[in-house]
Symmetry: C2
Subunit: 348 residues, 2 copies
Amino acid sequence: MRRTRSASATIEGVAARAGVSRQTVSNVLNAPERVSPHTAERVRRAIAELHYRPHWAARRLRTRTSRTIGFRIQPSGPPVLGSLIDRFLHALTSQAWNAGYRLLLFTQASGDDERATYDELSATGTVDGFVIYDLRIGDRRPPWLAQRSIPFACFGRPLGSSTAARYAWVDVDGALGIAQAVDYAVSRGHRRIAYLGWHPGTCCGDDREQGWHRAMRRHRLDTAGLHSESADELAAGTDAARRLLAGDDPPTAFVCASDTLAVGARLASQVGVQVVGFDDSPVVSLLQPPMSSVRQPLEDVARAIVRLLLEQLDGNTTAEGVLLPPQLIVRDGQQPAGQQKIEKSTGS
Amino acid sequence: MRRTRSASATIEGVAARAGVSRQTVSNVLNAPERVSPHTAERVRRAIAELHYRPHWAARRLRTRTSRTIGFRIQPSGPPVLGSLIDRFLHALTSQAWNAGYRLLLFTQASGDDERATYDELSATGTVDGFVIYDLRIGDRRPPWLAQRSIPFACFGRPLGSSTAARYAWVDVDGALGIAQAVDYAVSRGHRRIAYLGWHPGTCCGDDREQGWHRAMRRHRLDTAGLHSESADELAAGTDAARRLLAGDDPPTAFVCASDTLAVGARLASQVGVQVVGFDDSPVVSLLQPPMSSVRQPLEDVARAIVRLLLEQLDGNTTAEGVLLPPQLIVRDGQQPAGQQKIEKSTGS
DNA sequence: TTGAAAGCGCTAACAC
DNA sequence: GTGTTAGCGCTTTCAA
């Protein structure tokens, strides 16, 4: 006869079967070094025979930890090419699990104060801390959480806050990524390299634009008439590219703040015009001919975020910022010296 | 001075402040009808003043319910256009939350038995049940879970199982969706309407192909030489479309089992050839010119799934199957009579 | 190295 | 309508 859910074994049952006290069973699971190998073996056998698993809630109540990380997903707004956050979510779930933590998902309750749910989950002890992302300039969540001593770690630098340095964050060096893209375009012989970015004030947009400016300066290239700001939309990318291409001395390459803008630019470009995107969205590798794009190291970001968060939960208040380098995934044309081709291009 | 996390109020503190017993406070929260309005008001004030929140784990232990639903996300395999599951995840999170449940995410631990994690989460009482998706033919999870009386609900019909009728599932009527697409193509004057599908045996592929066959028969249209089976890849769509277009009496419209195939088909098609996709991926609305696609009602799916799961948790063992109608989102050309245009097409 | 006692915070069952 | 008692399953503290 099968064990049923309603009658699952408790630590008491295991202790009885192994002929030891509850304590010893607990020690086998939580502090094996305190138990003699012989006893431990007997206990482990009893555990296996009874298919015993410690009750999650009982453990949580006793230790007063939830071993759970909260993560809020936003409704996926305007259509963009493959959401970076969805891919990040996979990495985060996996990293949290590896660290013995669970990931709890939630959404903003409609009409709710943005922070009510953070408060709820934290005050009830449902989660030990949060991972937050999509930080806007002057985002009020970091100071709000910090003031309440609620542990959190950010994907992205908290900008526009005087206390930003005190938060734990992990970000990808957008300036470096864009600079890599410019370097690559230069190595392919381009000199008129335009940048399609977002309106100033968008989260990581300023950072990426900086990368373009600096890289162009380093190569002693002129930037006049090669710059556009728009919303993060495909049509905006197309419009911007058309406008720039119509000028005197038009660009022969576009380096873009997003894949969405990049695909838009491609629609306005003839063969021979190089376009480099940002984020390495799945759809990008499907394009014909293939397009290069800057990839964010999402696994590394997730690993670092979990580490920073757990350090706080362990009481090590290391308010640290981690900046990770992205990687240009080259899909068009020959490799520049020193670059490694990471992915085969898809296609017929 | 601020309340700190470590010293949060308990039900005892609230009871003391309100001058009632712990039980009364509990009743105010869980069974308000048992408490006199006057007492309830006093208790509520005390709750507010102390910023009291019932401790999640204590509740879970006492009631022996986790109020949590488990959901496994797979690593996002080969690049496809915008993952349907990511959008479903938003809807599911929101619906679960509205029902008072939390959504717990997990991934398959590498090298693990596929079912070990389901077992772990269930046996420890970390979750009350699961939502599973991406059911393959003869998927062993449904019978495995059912045998252990672990509640679950499927997104998609469990196929290839003799006991499928006994499971709770919610699916979208793919045959109907494809039929809508065919009807629309016919209304636009097309007679040679091809179908690009997947290899037989793929989960919902057979269903969708059925829809094409039936709709074509209903319109008394010939299907010979208008059918292709391939992997769900962009290049495969392009190849298939090219092959069919090269035949005698080539198609003037393509109805596809996925947006990925549809976009592939577009790349092989000239202006005037109509292509209809499936899933209404975000990227589809970005195409120029816009493309129509069959949209799955993910909010409704999520709502029904949560309902079916909670019914099981409440002890109502309704092994029910729910089939929901999809909706053709028309983006190209004029509306056929009786069709409503749902979304503005994006573009310049 | 092992065991006994205590209690985490809450709610079901019952008495008043 | 409200209070008292008991105990969910576990781990921390302290004694043996």
